[in-house]
């Protein structure tokens, strides 16, 4: 798998985590106030969020994630080039850092508004940062030394 394909797959993984976490947190709350959340509602909401958060939002989350991961992975690539640090851990850290910047630092620039609803809780932030780590791990393990 070429580096470009791996990178875009990593973006999709991160976006999927964001969308799933957003859907789950919304639907969990709706169910907690006795709204009729069934399997059909769950599936349709999940699909809608996967598409909607990628391409339909006023704030293009996928573009923000793409830019964030691009910068983070590039920095990780440079560090790998000059050090002997384990690539898997570095790319995981890079992915986590990118999502940390998006869910923790970005709101600071917007009067503390959490534009990603799933990031409004500490647990939500941790899930999304973990999603970034997963995308970084994927990018690392699917690449060989030659492709770097």
């Amino acid at each position: 798998m070429g580096v470009v394909a791996r990178f875009f797959a990593s973006v999709i993984i991160a976006m999927s985590v964001i969308a799933v976490q957003t859907s789950l947190s919304n639907l969990w709350w709706l169910q907690s106030i006795d709204m009729p959340v069934g399997v059909g509602v769950f599936v349709s909401t999940l699909l809608s969020d996967l598409i909607g958060m990628s391409v339909l939002g006023a704030a293009p989350i996928i573009a923000i994630v793409l830019v964030g991961l691009l910068i983070a992975f590039f920095v990780a690539f440079l560090i790998i080039k000059w050090t002997d640090l384990d690539r898997s851990y570095l790319y995981m850290l890079a992915g986590a850092t990118a999502l940390f910047a998006i869910v923790v630092l970005m709101p600071l620039a917007f009067y503390n508004l959490d534009l990603i609803a799933g990031a409004r809780t500490l647990l939500g932030k941790c899930c999304l940062i973990a999603g970034g780590a997963v995308s970084g791990y994927f990018f690392a393990v699917t690449g060989g030394r030659i492709n770097d």
Partner: protein, 372 residues
Amino acid sequence: MIKSTSFSVFCAFAFSALVVQAETNQYQTDVVVTGLDNPWSLAFISNDDWLVTERSGALRRVRNGQLDAESIKGVPDVLFAGQGGLSEVILHPEFTQNQWLYLSFSGRDEINSKRNALVVVRARLQDNQLVDVTEIFRSSPLRKAAAHYGARIHFLSDGTMLVTSGDGFNHREQAQSLDNHFGKILRLNDDGSVPEDNPFLSVPEALPEIWSYGHRNPQGLVVSPSGVVYAHEHGPKGGDELNIIQPGQNYGWPAITYGVDYSGAIISPFTEHPDMEQPIKYWVPSIAPSGMILYGGAMFPQWRGDLFISALVPGDVRRLVLSDTEVESEEILFDEFGRLRAVAEAPDGSLVLATDGRNGQLIRVSAPQVVE
């Protein structure tokens, strides 16, 4: 025969031209004031003496069409950030006797300056200065974000006042809980105390000021002569609403909504629920409703009883014709000025519009002057 036919045709054309003239020239607009810094709300001491808030924190006075160079002193410090700042100014119903006026604004917490709240103060206006400034309400709990304050105030005929309190953007689910002020319309006595007949007084852990709940960011509030309370609120991406507010009712946000999140995510897949009230009108896409009046003036008798809603997106006023309490039709007016933050009715029945943003303007809408 030919002459009389020609004359008839001529008369028909002339009459048509007059009708068209009357319809297109039913009002004239004049820019009265320029250079306001984010104007938000207007109040009329008299037809020639206006108060206008600037969100940046100043209370200004317009006398005989001229903006006083100095702002009114004594206004409390406000948090001017994001959507926050000095918001509503409204006169007490007996202002001419007691000189009380009310301001709403976003205020920093005194202990933790990183947190803020919706604040309402009462003050007397004396010699172009506010005195006896007293805080009568502060929303709870505090918030970090500077958005969605609501901040609109309106008096009911019984002398109590309604205050809209937004969901704080990050706390939308709290609009469905009665133990906080997020996403609520509140009812207070004119001194900030709680009326004895508020609907949730006997509900354990409910805040006593709450009158209705399940709102997002209500910024329009009017009461009809017959006591019907209309409120509009910003939806997310789509889903702005106009509601008839009744005490104790749940208006659904965010469990039901006609909008989606700005991120593109679903906020709720539901638009209805038997225990939640439906709007009498909603807008998709959003118009970002910012202010509202129920017209009752003499200058435009054809508009009496209509709702006028100022809108930020793209910027116009929506005139809603009501039939009983239903919206019969909607007309778009005044769409040449850009984003409109407020619409108000002056004592003479003219309308005053406020544009949004820096270098805000006040525009007077009045009946066309007859040229002799």
